[in-house]
Amino acid sequence: MPESSLKSSRDRRVLDLYDRVLEIEQRLIPTGLHVFGRAPGFREIRSLLRMVASFERTTAVSAGAGRETVKALTDLVAEGLGLFDYATLLKDSEVNEQRLQERERVESLVSEAVDLFVADRAFHRAAAHLQERANVTIEESQRVFEVLARVRTELEKSDELQSLCRALRGRYIEPGPGADIIQNPDVLPTGRNTHAVNPYTVPSTTAVKKAAPIVAALLERHRSETGRYPESMAMVLWGIDNIKTQGEAVAQALNLMGVRPRRDSLNRATDVDVIPIEDLGRPRIDVIMTVSGIFRDLFGATMALLDKAVRVVSALDEPDDLNFVAKHVRARMKDDGASLEDAAARVFSNAAGNYGANVNFMVLDSQWRESDELGDLFVTRKCFAYGRGGDSREARALLDRALSRVELTYQNIDSTEVGITDVDHYFEYLGGVSKAVEKRSGARPRVYLSDSTSPGAKVRTLEETIKLETRTKTLNPKWYEGMLSHGFSGVAEIEHHVTNTFGWSATADAVDKWIYDEVAQTFVLDEQMLARLCEMNPHAARAMVGRLLEASGRGLWSADESVLSKLRESFLGLEDRLEGVTA
């Protein structure tokens, strides 16, 4: 290799590593638990405000005023300095040293300004700083600081206890939206009666706009790894992100099929318009939607819209290689004599009145022998096909058949606060469906997650996401010490993370050996640490050590023998201790 290209490949490697390190460093993590009625401290408010300032948003600038668009401070600074917009800087800094330096400049100016604002409790110095250093007009930055001031005031006066007492006196409790604060500061003040959305408004125009680049990134990622588009994919749809984003995941599903929502004369999303194939510039993807019971309930009208989209797309007169939906529906009808109803069933959920895939229960309670049982359970629970009018029917054979074609599984993640090892529902659904596909298609599908939280669409593989979660949370002293400051509940929280990580081994075999090695090292082999955990919550400590042994016992972690014997020893010690406690 010539010297110059060696150098440039080295530079590329450095930039790539740097980007990954920054991704870890800047990722937002919870650093503790909330105590009802207590306001967050100074340091936490500062980090939060920095993030709030980094997103453009439509909000009421002050109470009672109308809603208007407030730009992100990062974009204002980038613009003031004559640079590309911040999203571009983020994206290009992965491969370009100059963009990286520009990005760092923008970020540090924003940080400085927010720190000044927080310290002063007023915007003047912060705004002047940005004017002087980044040519941002006071008028423009002031609007951002007004939003920050409102967020800060509402964070500092917690109304939760008073609100609870009002409710206990049978008084009216104000409603409020539900979301992450960074995503939507209008969730403040807390202490309110959280509501969902009117399903007929979903997906919103903004959601439709934001869906396109995520879908493009997802398909591009798959194409760069396999050389082609996926014909069939399975997508997990939940209520939570679709409420917070007014239906981004719904819009993604529609976009994958190459349609967009059409609003009727009463402004409700009740029908779809077909995006002509030449505008779409790619084939229509066949999307099998596995839907949570909660989504089914909260978005009944949307279920009908998704079903309608499938019917419309399957009826288009387009060649097989440009319309995979129609291709598969036609083939089923022709080859097997299936009815249109059967051939076009794509929206699956639980039996009415039931919730959950139960895969999490099976994993948590170690009730499985072969991992295929986890995928089968997913299918058992989710094999109810939903059609027009909200009607459903058990259709196990249809779901089996549909999943047998799937090459890619996917879920949209919208939250900075809830990651895939924080709760058991992610492996229950995305893990469950992936395992079901593996048996039915004969190969493990590619598993992707999108991250619509950062400015700029990002799609990661499951494995990348697990590593990121592990590095930023489970193994990060800032995270676990934050949790441990809560004692009993903090230990339980750490144990949940280990167990949820294990859930990804069980369902998707997606956890590297080093992750378990490091977890064992950090929490069990470090005797001081283990002693702390046992002191605070021996039950959770025992459960965690037991889970690591289970991972090894099931062949999901090829642990070194020396590590294993230490784990066994610790486990027995904990058993003895707990028996002593309860005797």
């Binding site: 503790g32 969730v187 009666n193 509501h195 909660i294």
Partner: protein, 707 residues
């Protein structure tokens, strides 16, 4: 003579059927009136029947049809037909445009936007054809922008309601003969429709027959009866009350004092009242009075209920009711066409009275609701539950609705009684001295196991409980507050375990006899889990209730689903009943410990995910049985609106949101921090040889970090 009426809702079928009988008896014209409720999309046979009736009718009425699917198919069917008259009232624009009466072509009129004087008769008809779409267009989702709000206020609807008021005057000046005859006819039909008394509905049908069916021009038809547009209704009174004071006077003669803290303000739909389709209202009103609560049943001012509230729920500046119960199924401000939740919240906050919103099954039948595992169909769920929730409405109960056989809505007896009892419970919370109020705080234990008692998403539960207990004590509740959060946890975790499989302190042993005596659902639980007390939360003789008593506060541990150690249960596609321990726990709280309210602490528990309808629960649904009559407050993470909404709908919870934990940048630690330093050094270095060395170091560090 065949007329088809495609309608939506519960107020029209009864007067229409009566009209058919009366007309045939008196005029002997062989009238066949075909009725189809088009509230939800009609498919298969239901649609075939409707389409056949439309095709074979001389005259077609379409009233209130806003379902997209129905609208487009009806519009097509009408385009194919050859009717003597098609009369659309308050429908989607594509249906309004199908109105054809003699020379009146509403499509042409609607196209002539801006050309006609607004106050001319034809201009009025055009306005009637377009107001709804204009009102809806001005709405942008649940959080209207300032611009959209002003649109809603000053746009379609305001003009519409002004018009409605002027309609009688306008009609007087429209000549009956000539070009404007058909315009006048449309306005007259509309006037009958606006006052849907049985007589007016009969007149509306006769009027259409007289003018558009052959050989009937000699029919004599009375002018529209005019009914008050506002007022207070009571089933025991002969007439509507036009003012609160006259209603108060009348109530006193019945021994009803109407004191503020014991009076519920009800909002009723006007068409149901004046069309006499109100049996469901009557029963609910009486059920509430039977619980000792007084009522003010006011006619809803439809698009803006603040007006009805101001007129009838206030004595001057003082609120006259302690709770508002909306039976309209629509948003508080904005009606069916839009929702101005900010205005609603502002008003309700000021009034400080909670809003309950109940559902009448108007676009599905009680039979279909009973049979359905889903409960409310998606159209009703969106309109009558999702939107009122945004105003802060709670307790989304079904109280009545249409049936397959009766032509008017009827009450659902057990639901009416339950609603009434819950209102009484809420009333007690408002008025009882704090030292007598008993509160059950329920914590969770998931995944099952002692290490997880009192865990919840993002919440440190025991310190949170301490904050709550202290606050309750300060407010005058009788509560023994433990020394510290650790002490509280020890009390809950430890102590007697009874040699049983319970994970926490046992507060009470409920004998099987007591459990059977207090819980009417034991047989249903046994069908699923075998004889009581079963194996979970049991010592073989009694149901064990986990928790501790701290004066008038009980801190209980909710039992788990009961999947642990019972793999077969997980594998069912559909779940059955909760186990005896679960059922017994809530039986204990309500009927043994006699709580006045329950507070669930943290995101989230299992009660609201028990089998049953999704929303609009019946007495057979498990969450409805478990929560019983208890007011339910739920401390819930603000970032989880989806599971929280399930709790609101299925366990009648009022959520009190809590802040998510502080977030910070993850930062770097150990090897990651040094890797960044080396990377920085590489980026800064100008010396090629140094960069080479640094690069080697980088690769070594990266390998150690598995990067």
């Amino acid at each position: 003579m065949k007329i088809t009426v495609l309608y939506v809702g519960g107020s029209l079928p009864a007067p229409l059927k009566q009209a058919e009988r009366d007309i045939n008896r008196k005029h002997k014209i062989g009238l066949e009136l075909a009725l189809h409720n088009c509230g939800v999309s009609l498919f298969d046979k239901a649609w075939d029947d409707a389409a056949r009736d439309v095709a074979t009718s001389e005259i077609v009425f379409i009233i209130h049809v806003t379902d997209h699917e129905n609208a487009s198919r009806i519009a097509e069917a009408l385009a194919r037909g050859n009717h003597r008259a098609v009369i659309a009232i308050n429908c989607m624009p594509e249906l309004m445009r199908r109105t054809r009466m003699g020379k009146l072509d509403l499509a042409a009129l609607m196209r002539s936007r801006g050309e006609k004087d607004e106050s001319s008769p034809a201009g009025v008809v055009r306005r009637l054809g377009t107001w709804m779409a204009e009102t809806m267009r001005s709405r942008r989702g649940s959080t209207p922008t300032a611009e959209a709000k002003s649109g809603a206020k000053h746009g379609g609807f305001a003009k519409y309601s002004g018009l409605i008021k002027r309609l009688p005057t306008i009609l007087r000046f429209v000549p009956r003969a000539g070009k404007l005859g058909d315009v006048k006819n449309y306005l007259l039909l509309y006037s009958y429709f606006l006052q849907p008394t049985p007589v007016n509905i009969r007149s509306m049908i006769l009027y259409a027959i007289k003018h558009y069916a052959p050989g009937q021009s000699r029919l004599r038809i009375p002018a529209p009866e005019v009914m008050p547009s506002e007022g207070i209704y009571h089933p025991d009174a002969d007439e509507l009350f036009e003012s609160l004071s006259s209603y108060v006077k009348w109530s006193r003669t019945r021994g009803r004092k109407l004191s503020r803290d014991n009076t519920a303000g009800l909002l009723l739909m006007r068409p149901q009242i004046i069309s006499k389709s109100r049996r469901h209202y009557d029963r609910l009103i009486r059920a509430i009075e039977e619980e000792g609560i007084d009522v003010i049943p006011a006619i809803s001012t439809f698009m803006d209920n603040r007006e009805a509230c101001r007129s009838f729920f206030f004595h001057g500046e003082t609120a006259a009711v302690s709770q508002i119960v909306s039976l309209t199924g629509f948003s508080f401000v904005g009606g069916p066409a839009s929702n101005d939740s900010e205005a609603a919240v502002e008003f309700l906050k000021e009034m400080n009275a909670p809003l309950r919103s109940m559902v009448s099954l108007d676009v599905q039948t009680i039979e279909s609701w009973e049979a359905s595992r889903l409960g409310l169909n998606p159209v009703q769920a969106a309109m009558q539950v999702s939107i009122p929730e945004i105003d802060g409405a709670t307790e989304p109960f079904v109280y009545g609705g249409m049936t397959g056989s009766a032509s008017e809505p009827i009450p659902i007896e057990d639901r009416c009684r339950k609603i009434a009892r819950r209102l009484a419970r809420w009333n007690r919370l408002q008025t009882a001295p704090r030292e007598s109020v008993r509160v059950a705080l329920v914590v969770f234990c998931f995944p099952p196991g002692k290490g997880n008692i009192g865990t919840a998403a993002d919440l440190d539960v025991f310190p949170s409980l301490m904050e709550i207990l202290n606050q309750l004590r300060n407010e005058g509740y009788e509560v023994n507050v433990p020394r510290s959060a650790d002490h509280l946890r020890d009390l809950v975790l430890d102590g007697l375990e009874d040699g049983s499989n319970s994970v926490a302190h046992v507060a009470y042993r409920m004998s099987v006899d007591q459990y059977r005596a207090l819980c009417p659902y034991v047989d249903d639980v046994e069908a699923e889990w075998g004889g009581a007390p079963g194996k979970i939360n049991s010592n073989g003789r009694d149901v064990l209730i986990q928790g501790i008593e701290l004066g008038n506060v009980f801190v209980g541990v909710q039992p788990t689903f009961g999947y642990e150690g019972d793999p077969m249960r997980l594998l069912n596609a559909e779940s059955g009943a909760p186990h005896h321990g679960f059922m017994g726990f809530y039986t204990y709280i309500e009927k043994v410990w006699k709580a006045d309210a329950v507070i669930h602490v943290g995101t989230h528990g299992a009660l609201e995910f028990m089998p049953g309808k999704q929303v609009g629960l019946s007495s057979k649904c498990w969450p409805d049985r478990l929560i019983g009559e208890l007011p339910n407050l739920y401390i819930y993470s603000v970032n989880n609106p989806s599971e929280g909404t399930i709790a609101r709908r299925r366990s009648y919870a009022e959520l009190i949101s809590y802040l998510t934990p502080p977030v910070e940048n993850a930062g770097l630690y150990k090897g990651l921090a040094s890797l960044k330093e080396t990377l920085d050094a590489y980026r800064r270095s100008a010396s090629e040889s140094e960069r080479e060395q640094l690069f080697e170091a980088i690769e070594e560090q990266a390998a150690l970090l598995n990067m």
